[in-house]
Symmetry: none
Subunit: 236 residues, 2 copies
Amino acid sequence: MNKPLILTVEDDVPVRNLITTTLKTHGYRILLAANGEAAILEASSHNPDIILLDLGLPDMDGVEVIKKIRTWSNVPIIVISARSEDADKIEALDSGADDYLTKPFSVEELLARLRVTQRRLALMGTEAGQQTSVFTNGALKIDYAAGCVYLGGEELHLTPIEYKLLCLLSQNVGKVLTHTFITRNIWGSSWDNDIASLRVFMASLRKKLEKGPGKYQYIQTHIGIGYRMLRVGNDD
Amino acid sequence: MNKPLILTVEDDVPVRNLITTTLKTHGYRILLAANGEAAILEASSHNPDIILLDLGLPDMDGVEVIKKIRTWSNVPIIVISARSEDADKIEALDSGADDYLTKPFSVEELLARLRVTQRRLALMGTEAGQQTSVFTNGALKIDYAAGCVYLGGEELHLTPIEYKLLCLLSQNVGKVLTHTFITRNIWGSSWDNDIASLRVFMASLRKKLEKGPGKYQYIQTHIGIGYRMLRVGNDD
DNA sequence: TAGGCATCTTAATGCTGCCTTAATTTCTTT
DNA sequence: AAAGAAATTAAGGCAGCATTAAGATGCCTA
């Protein structure tokens, strides 16, 4: 996950400043809202990762804000409130809040609770999203997550540079990639002119990937320009 | 979801009775454990939907129970504790707890927090954290709950780091794990560049796990990248 | 408190395999 | 047919790896 975006809903300026500076120094991005209406607007327009909501807002009941947001979003909502009675907590939690902190709260605890929420988001992401991140092209299969390459069921053993090269080509199927584009992506932007090495790696990659010398179905060479991976049929 | 199964870990009898009767009248099914060891055993054998954990256990630190369970499961853990200091909360939450209630707590609040957890479980789809606590791969068997490793019936004695290393690899079977990924997971993100140590531990782990030098069927090395555990056949 | 055991760390050695360069062959274009 | 571009092959150097051993640290026991 990138830097998580947190919507902070708080009208009390000192508390708000404390929260925002703390969160910023811990690598979060911040959105601000000082009342319920603004909170709903921000939440709907910017899709924050987590919402930090003070229940004591000037314009409307915080619980109403929760209910409103819950009509379209399951974003985690952590409530901060001055009221510590059970009835308040229960109402907020049952209305859709995920956690409830009572003022005065410790900044460290808030950070810990945020980490818990993030951890859970990460879990949901990997399981719900089921990011297979597998590339298939004819008999060729690349599992980016596992770092493995298969050709017709058999696993190919590629050296690091060969693997990078193949990834680069596969992620731009159909596009012609220039020599310098490839070398810069593999080596960094310093070398530039070492097309000779590139040719050697291309040869060894093709040796493992293609059927015979001269019969290239996956990687095509464009003279004077560079290379390109082709989409191939489903044959094996 | 059917009636949720809740593992209650509490050694204080009156509190335990209060909780169990309350939960039962609210439609939950209950598992009980009065100490850490029993808790781990129950958690690993019955796959509860939620765990209610009192940190003050007679036999071991509650945080250790959390860490142990987290080695194989993502089941929601709600902590109940008499200690209300920030440091305790943070330690528990960062160790893998999902929520933290301080005694004396209101039964109503506990029920509300349980409802929040259930709501979230329903969101995540069924059985989010359900993993077996025993990993098998060929002749290799790892019992995460017990912390034991077997190779063809024989128990292996692994040092803590060797064990962590093996767990990390086994939980990502088939994936290539980079050096830095491994070192960060084992030592934390501070060291980073100590690949030398990693190699030594890998050697000693292989010495215990693999047949002979050079004949590696479980752990494969990817030069310039890292290591990976392979799925092996059932033969031995 | 001191000694011993187990584990961790660091350093050193030999070795495998990857990268690079260069030279030769094949292909393409004019 | 000749020249340039690309493919291929081979060989030397070197980075990364496995393995061993010795020193450092911490923990348990007597």
